[in-house]
Amino acid sequence: MEEVREPIAHMPHIGEPAPAFEAVSTQGVLKLEDFKGSWLILFSHPADFTPVCTTEFIAFSEIHPELQKRGVELLGLSVDSVSSHIAWVRNVQEKTGVKIPFPIIADLNKEVSLSYGMIHPGQSKTETVRCVFIIDPDQIIRTILYYPLTTGRNMDEILRIVDALQTTDKNKVATPANWRPGDMVVVPPPNTQEMAEERLQQGYECVDWYLCKKKL
């Protein structure tokens, strides 16, 4: 008998508009456009009432105030029902004292999961893997992270990426490996020979013409 497959969905890419959605959540019916003007982290988890996801939800709640300072909203998603989400967040609060402050989409029909490529059949045919989509105020996807079912996400890295993206946008620079706020940033490389020659005279800290850093 032939295996039943999920319809092949378009995998979103960095730099593309985030796929529009209208979805039921723990805070009402939400549309992507409701988040316009704010940064948005849309993230999926495999299932409610599972151990790794519970640690992640507590961790996302802990960084929520830091994200708010940066103008970032959080939006969770799994293919569980709203009733399941409500029961789970109430249980998390009862058992750990942590209140989940952000909405969670109940994507029972997998409409959002499929449009964002959140189901990876090699990991699970029925659950979403641990995806993170960082979407800017113009609703362009700026970063996509995928984690396997067995590996909880790193909140420091998510905050670091938000800081890096916002610094890049504000100052028209790039950020080097392991960059942290306050570190030197990378000046965009010159496009012409003349600019390359000038670059070394511009007072930056340069390894060579193509790798120069500056303090902000």
């Binding site: 805070q27 009402g28 019916v29 939400l30 549309k31 409701d34 704010s38 909203e73």
Partner: protein, 73 residues
């Protein structure tokens, strides 16, 4: 439903939004600032209040409807 309970009455956040409309505020941005609710929740909530007939929408602005005014009297 986040702003309107199954019995048709506004929730706490729905009531906040209706009171902001009563005070003459009309845009989601103004209402978010006044109520302290996140802008995404206000956009979603106003849409819901309008669907329930508690607010009237005109383009990007909202007004309290007669039915909405009745409920927060």
């Amino acid at each position: 439903m986040a702003c309107v309970s199954p019995d048709g009455k506004p929730t706490e956040s729905g009531t906040k939004m209706l009171r902001a409309l009563q005070a003459g505020l009309g845009s989601p941005e103004e209402i978010a600032k006044e109520t302290g609710l996140p802008l995404f929740r206000v956009r979603s909530g106003l849409r819901e209040l309008a669907e329930a007939g508690l607010a009237d929408q005109k383009e990007d602005s909202y007004k309290l409807s007669g039915k909405g005014a009745e409920l927060i009297r």
